[in-house]
């Protein structure tokens, strides 16, 4: 079964540094998403992306966050200047039109 892959599985960074989380969505999907889960909290929507632009973003997704689909396969989440509170598990997901979301296994981001 096709799957969403995310790299790296773990990322440790210093506060104030930039990080890029990478995702390869399922190849025939058109909609891409980032979610995150802070330890002990619920899975939260960050952003959705379609046709090379953001469809919707949450209040969490401020100016420090950006997303990009640099080529035909990758979908990245960049955090420009990480804060301690950005520490979380970040999940990429993709879907076809109106379909269910398929999630990757996540990237655990630790900001020190």
């Amino acid at each position: 079964e096709p799957e969403v892959t995310q790299t790296p599985s773990h990322q440790v960074t210093q506060m104030g540094q930039e990080v890029i989380l990478r995702c390869v969505p399922i190849s025939n999907h058109l909609y891409f998403y980032w979610y995150r889960q802070i330890l002990g909290q619920k899975v939260e929507f960050l952003v959705s992306f379609y046709n090379n632009e953001i469809s919707e973003k949450s209040e969490i997704f401020d100016d420090q966050f950006s997303v990009e689909r640099p080529d035909g396969s990758n979908f990245t989440l960049k955090i420009r200047s990480t804060k301690l509170e950005d520490s979380a598990m970040y999940f990429c997901a993709s879907s076809s039109t109106g379909g269910k979301l398929f999630f990757g296994s996540g990237t655990q981001l630790s900001v020190l």
């Binding site: 998403y33 979610y35 469809s55």
Partner: protein, 114 residues
């Protein structure tokens, strides 16, 4: 954002018995609902969904019931197996322009013991 609530953080069930996981929502405009299962160090995995126009959907051991008047849905697992032990998330969707923004509940940790 408290639009989707799972009020039971954990549930313990004996193998072979029924597991019932509950979920409440506040927004009557949701188009459909999904249940995801999550193991540690893995992403959420889709389990079963139900459209807002239906009241029941069944897939093998898993059945989801929707009570729109009560804004309540439940997931039944019969019979429960130890491999079902995981965190179960209820999610609601309002379809907008083709993409699906899922709003998750906080999750219920199910433990199925022999």
């Amino acid at each position: 954002d408290q639009q989707v609530k799972q009020n039971s953080p954990s549930l313990s069930v004996q193998e072979g018995r029924i597991s019932i996981l509950n979920c409440d929502y506040t927004n009557s405009m949701f188009d459909y609902f999904l249940w995801y299962k999550k193991y540690p160090a893995e992403g959420p995995t889709f389990l079963i969904s139900i459209s807002s126009i239906k009241d029941k959907n069944e897939d093998g051991r898993f059945t989801v019931f929707l009570n729109k008047s009560a804004k309540h849905l439940s997931l039944h697992i019969v019979p429960s197996q130890p491999g079902d032990s995981a965190v179960y998330f209820c999610a609601a969707v309002r379809v907008s322009g083709g993409y699906n923004k899922l709003i998750f509940g906080a999750g219920t940790r199910l433990a199925v013991h022999p």
